[in-house]
């Protein structure tokens, strides 16, 4: 395990300009009884991925509120991360036949990490399956252990879930991102939505000239409508389906399509999906397939802000925070009704949901024809994110959980 130091910090008061001084005062009020009390967050990576992104923001804010919070990252060899990656995919429903040795590897690294870490905080929050086994090493007098599961457990591989299920009931509580993802468990289960940081590079306001510069760099015309999907090149994000929907829209509107995701060079499946998208896009210079560097938050931010409509046509989804990112930027969104997306897109209120290529195309055409409706949906979508999916709300939920668990029974 290694304790993570976070170099760049945004003071809590800076969020007043976004959420209002009353909301910040409320966080301070709620945190008062928790000042000085120990919290440990444990996950499996310090960089990359949504969990690290959230902890990077959450931990310093909790620290500023006077909570004695630490963020620890589990260490392991390649064999451990191969096993946990396979577990992760299997819990999402991918076919997988685990060998007994896989479980042994998981147990061995859990034990190694348990020996290196102080596990005696009043509140210990374990993120995702990788460190879930640490519950076996819970000191007798340590208080509250919480398992925060960020993944969709609605259709897990039974062998992997049965293994995990030997650990999870020993926690005091579990947290899921959607009621759909929850399991029948003997412990209380809570709903926490994932969150975006409105002041991060990916979401903060950008100067218009920077946005134009990014468009010019990628050969995108800012004078014609831009449809955008931001997500890695993954079949579950259905990039080819997005291209098919765009081709239908093109019969009615002179628009462009941007599909932007992380580089697929070190991901064999990603490279294959990118290739499929390239074939589907062939012959249309208005389709831009952009392989962004691994971490290009400002470019993603600029592309989302430049978009006329943002699409998220996933076939399956965890929560799909790119939807919240787009809504935060007051963009009308057309998205599939899968995973956590309907929580963010309340149909006809904060965006439009679709269930097929044709449906997606129709909703995009409808919004291009009715910009005033698109604007109204986008405005409400922004309010929805402000109220429910910002990092400050996430912090408030953790404070509330700690207060509830820490109350004398």
């Amino acid at each position: 395990m290694s304790t993570i130091q976070i170099p760049s910090r945004i003071p809590l008061d800076d969020y007043s300009s976004v959420i209002g001084a009353g909301e910040v005062a409320e966080l301070r009020t709620l945190a008062n009884p928790l000042v000085g009390r120990a919290v440990t967050m444990i996950n499996s990576t310090a960089v990359g991925g949504g969990v690290a992104e959230i902890l990077n923001r959450l931990v310093p804010l909790a620290e500023e509120l006077g909570i004695n919070i630490r963020w620890e990252v589990m260490t392991g060899g390649e064999d451990f991360f191969e096993v946990t990656k396979a577990f992760h995919n299997a819990l999402h429903g991918a076919p997988y036949h685990p060998q007994p040795s896989h479980f042994e590897i998981f147990r061995a690294y859990t034990e190694k990490n348990a020996k290196r870490l102080r596990l005696d905080s009043e509140f210990t929050v374990i993120h995702d399956p990788q460190p879930a086994g640490l519950i076996s090493y819970r000191p007798q007098n340590s208080n509250h252990w919480i398992w925060r599961c960020h993944i969709d457990l609605s259709h897990p591989n039974p062998a992997v879930w049965n293994f995990l299920d030997t650990y999870v009931p020993h926690y005091d509580a579990a947290i899921f991102s959607s009621p759909e993802f929850a399991k029948q468990l003997p412990i209380p289960q809570y709903l926490f939505h994932p969150a975006i940081d409105p002041l991060s590079e990916k979401n903060r306001d950008l100067p218009p000239e920077f946005i134009l510069d990014v468009l010019a760099r990628y050969g995108i015309d800012h004078l014609r409508p831009i449809l955008t999907q931001i997500s890695r090149f993954d079949r579950l994000k259905d990039p080819v389906g997005v291209i098919r929907a765009y081709r239908i829209v093109r019969r009615y509107f002179d628009c462009q399509l941007v599909l932007a995701g992380g580089s697929a060079s070190d991901d064999p499946e990603g490279a294959a999906v990118l290739k499929e998208a390239q074939v589907a896009a062939e012959g249309d210079p208005d389709i831009k397939l952009l392989e962004l560097p691994a971490w290009a938050p400002l470019e993603v931010n600029a592309l989302q802000r430049a978009s006329t409509i943002v699409i998220q046509k996933s076939l399956r989804e965890g929560f799909g925070l790119t939807v919240s990112e787009a809504l935060w930027k007051k963009k009308p969104v057309v998205a599939s009704a899968v995973g956590g997306i309907p929580t963010q897109i309340i149909h006809n209120h904060t965006g439009l949901l679709a269930h097929s290529v044709e449906g997606t195309a129709y909703q995009v055409r409808f919004l291009l024809s009715h910009p005033e409706i698109a604007g109204r949906l986008a405005e409400r979508g922004h309010q929805h994110v402000k109220e429910n999916f910002l990092i400050t709300q996430n912090l408030k939920r953790y404070l509330t959980l700690f207060l509830k668990l820490g109350m004398p029974s």
């Binding site: 209002g20 001084a21 009353g22 909301e23 005062a25 409320e26 009020t29 709620l30 008062n32 009884p33 899921f176 009621p179 759909e180 929850a182 029948q184 209380p188 289960q189 809570y190 709903l191 009704a337 309907p342 309340i346 149909h347 006809n348 209120h349 904060t350 409400r380 309010q383 929805h384 109220e387 429910n388 408030k396 939920r397 404070l399 509330t400 959980l401 207060l403 509830k404």
Partner: protein, 231 residues
């Protein structure tokens, strides 16, 4: 201007959403859920959801209405659910009884829809409440105005909407205090009539502040020395 003997104490509130073990895929299961779920669950899907979706001022009322419309495709039922105004209720038991009555009436009228599967299931959740005093009190109308202007959405909703369940009265904390402690019954009544369904929490608060300001001006005017008497 009057100073109250009992000051208004502002509280803040936070809710934890607990995922229940019940879900419903059709109207029959929804009715079973409505009959059996906890009071905290009824509260969550009516009072609490109005707070977290306060910015939706057209056609969003409670989770049951939204599910009936968007997932079960039963517009008429959605309208009936949406027509239940939580301000009419001072107990969860009465609200639950009316939710069940609406659904039973619909099922009796349209039995063919009772077991028709919805697009997505309804998941019963519960709200667990944590309250904390804000270290903010008001004894005068001016202090009250400053307090209302500075509190969070959750705190405003707590005092203005969910207070009915606590007070067991068809009023809210603000109106109750204005009438009882400052004797401003007319202001209290007008504030109590602000529509929480067609206003966001922000616009409801703005309306309330405008009403308070008008009352303050009236008092300032009343206490101004008359030109004639000054001579």
């Amino acid at each position: 201007m009057n100073s109250a003997e009992t000051p208004f104490e502002f509280f803040t509130v936070a809710y934890l959403t607990r995922i229940g073990n019940q879900s419903a895929g059709n109207l029959e299961e929804l009715l079973a859920g409505l009959e059996q779920c906890s009071d905290a669950s009824i509260f969550h899907h009516t009072f609490q959801t109005l707070s977290s979706h306060h910015f939706l001022t057209e056609g969003f009322s409670n989770d049951f209405a939204q599910w009936a419309l968007a997932e079960a495709n039963r517009d008429a039922l959605a309208e009936q659910f949406a027509a239940l105004d939580i301000r009419d209720y001072t107990s969860i038991a009465a609200l639950r009884a009316d939710l069940c009555r609406v659904l039973r009436d619909f099922i009796a009228a349209f039995p063919q829809f009772t077991r028709q599967e919805a697009l997505d299931r309804f998941y019963f959740c519960e709200s667990l409440e944590v309250t904390a005093p804000f270290a903010l009190q008001a004894a005068t109308l001016n202090e009250f105005r400053d307090g209302v202007a500075s509190i969070s959405h959750a705190s405003f909703h707590f005092h203005f909407v969910t207070s009915r369940l606590r007070l067991q009265l068809r009023t809210n904390d603000f109106s109750h205090w204005l009438a009882d402690s400052l004797g401003l019954t007319s202001l209290a009544d007008t504030i109590n009539r602000i529509d929480i369904y067609t206003n966001t929490l922000d616009t409801a608060r703005s309306k309330m502040l405008r009403l308070v300001d008008r009352e303050r001006r009236k008092h300032e005017h009343d206490s101004d020395p008359q030109p004639n008497s000054a001579r």
